[in-house]
């Protein structure tokens, strides 16, 4: 994410009261620390401290009950060299992200563009499309388990109306992953809202100018809409990747990682290691793998954004 560009420094203090200014600024700094202290304490206790601890634990063999034993980087090398499930869970998570994130971006953008064309009923449609994004969590997953029910679920019922014999969805190793991707697309309203905001921010003058130049609809989209939307693409892409790589509930609630490990998401495998097998050291090492992957991907997107994201207010 880019830093907020709003200037953080307020009015300069007057020079004539220099002596007082020194006191006032110290007082101001003191107030700053008092006011942010809840966050600062929370950060140290629940984020920074635990991060250090997590790294130390990742160098240990520890089951939470008996004393921990230092093993160096063994947990890391075990994951890479001797644990096929580590690679399977990585493959599952990456596959899911590679499909669900771009598909989500494309469908939500298409929806936003359609909605932008509608003169009447825009609010109504926006409300409807956003509804699935408002609800989340276990109730949604349970609903989708019922929709995916192979015998009398919604999907196979509807397919049956067309004489199609639907697959076993989340109970079929081949279909379980596509099922979860389909399910993720139900919630694209969240991305759509952000696209709509981006679309609203594009000056109509740009389109008028393009019209004068004789641009057709596709050319206007390609040369005005897309470049002007790149900051939004950037935001939705980063948020999408970070979210998709951390998928957990779908695996825990709906599939238990199955069938045949076809939905063994990384975070679910990590959870199993930590809280079902009590391999705290190994689970911590897995968490650091995920952290590094997310960090690397985010950095790649952020670095590359200089080349493809266009900020209107930015000076070259």
């Amino acid at each position: 994410m880019s830093m907020p560009s709003t200037s953080v420094d307020r009015a300069e203090p007057s020079k004539s009261i220099r002596k007082k200014w020194f006191n006032a600024s110290r007082k101001e700094a003191l107030w700053f620390y008092v006011l942010i202290s809840p966050w600062l304490i929370g950060f140290l206790c629940f984020v920074f401290g635990p991060m250090i601890a997590s790294f130390v634990i990742s160098l240990m063999k520890w089951d939470l009950l008996t004393p921990a034993k230092y093993v160096g980087f063994k947990n890391y090398s075990k994951a890479i060299h001797r644990d096929p499930l580590f690679w399977q869970s990585l493959k599952v998570t990456v596959t899911y992200s590679i499909f669900s994130v771009p598909l989500g971006l494309i469908f939500s953008l298409a929806l936003a563009l359609l909605l932008n064309q509608a003169t009447r009923g825009m609010r109504l449609f926006r409300t409807i499309f956003y509804m699935p994004a408002v609800v989340s969590g276990v109730s949604v997953m349970v609903l989708w388990m019922w929709i995916f029910n192979p015998q009398i679920g919604l999907l196979n019922t509807v397919l049956g109306y067309f004489g199609i014999n639907g697959p076993g969805w989340i109970f079929d190793p081949k279909w379980a992953m596509p099922s979860l991707i389909i399910m993720s697309l139900w919630g694209i309203g969240g991305g759509m809202i952000i696209w709509l905001a981006g679309l609203k921010g594009i000056s109509p003058m740009l389109y008028e100018a393009a019209n004068l130049d004789g641009a057709n609809a596709w050319q206007r989209f390609r040369n005005v809409t897309v470049p002007m939307l790149t900051p939004t693409i950037f935001f939705n892409l980063v948020m999408g990747i970070v979210g998709a790589l951390q998928t957990f509930g779908e695996a825990y609630v709906m599939t238990k990682g199955g069938p045949m490990n076809s939905t063994l998401f990384f975070n679910y495998y990590l959870f199993q290691n930590a809280f079902e097998n009590f391999n705290m050291g190994y689970a911590s090492a897995l968490a650091w793998f995920l952290f590094v992957i997310i960090l690397a991907l985010t950095l790649v997107v952020v670095k590359s954004s200089n080349a493809w994201v266009y900020y209107e207010g930015e000076r070259k």
């Binding site: 709003t6 953080v8 997590s54 989340s136 109730s139 952000i194 970070v242």
Partner: protein
Amino acid sequence: MNRTNWIKNLIVYGLLILGSLVMLIPFAWMISTSLKESYQVFATPVKWIPSPIKWHNYVETFTGLPFGRWLRNTLLVTVLNIFGTLVSCTVVAYGFARFRAKARNFLFIVMLSTMMLPGTVTMIPVFYLFKELGWVNTFYPLFVPAFFGNAFFIFLLRQFFMGIPTEMEEAAKIDGSSTVGILWRVILPLTIPALITVAILQFNGVWNDFMGPLLYLNKPELYTLALGINFFKSENNVQWNYLMAASVVTMLPSLIFYFIGQKYFVESITLTGQKG
């Protein structure tokens, strides 16, 4: 020209209606199942409108089963979370927006980067900390952290505060108001739309939180709705009609808040989306 417009509208509205159906049918399916007699749930061909319509399923779900208790637990945790979040995030955001200190920009960037940190990195040590405090099987681990702020909400409120002109605060300062007084009487009344957004987003997050309760609550009488539904689902004989009734009730508050707060909600998300 008119003719092409007409065709264009037909395509646009045709697709919009088709999309709406895809979005709405799962909800309809859920409601339909929740109103069926148990024996009707598995009947083929599927009946979309159950007869008789069994409203009583809802009563049974929340009186005969522990869902009532789980609902109370969820409400308690959610209310405490919203309260803690609003208090802490407002104060911290005000600090970041209006007070200068050498380390401010650095700390602000640190705070923003914590949003990228996957929760699993801190999960095990934090679990150990709360376990050592004797907080397993209590609600403390689920609401105490809320009193220490949330990076995303602090960012959102700080953006909002930055947009408020400082003149009124300066006037209040001259009149002798304290910092807390200014925040309470001058700033907060102007911030209500953003506070509503934070409250709604936090409601959705906590109401549907699964990982937290899963880690800390092992006794069925302490379960929240999310955990309870999952527990109920895992029983041998899944009763889809009750399960769907519970899902409807679980989703309902989020939907109601969304309809009420839609205006603020969409605006604020837009704000963060553009400046993010």
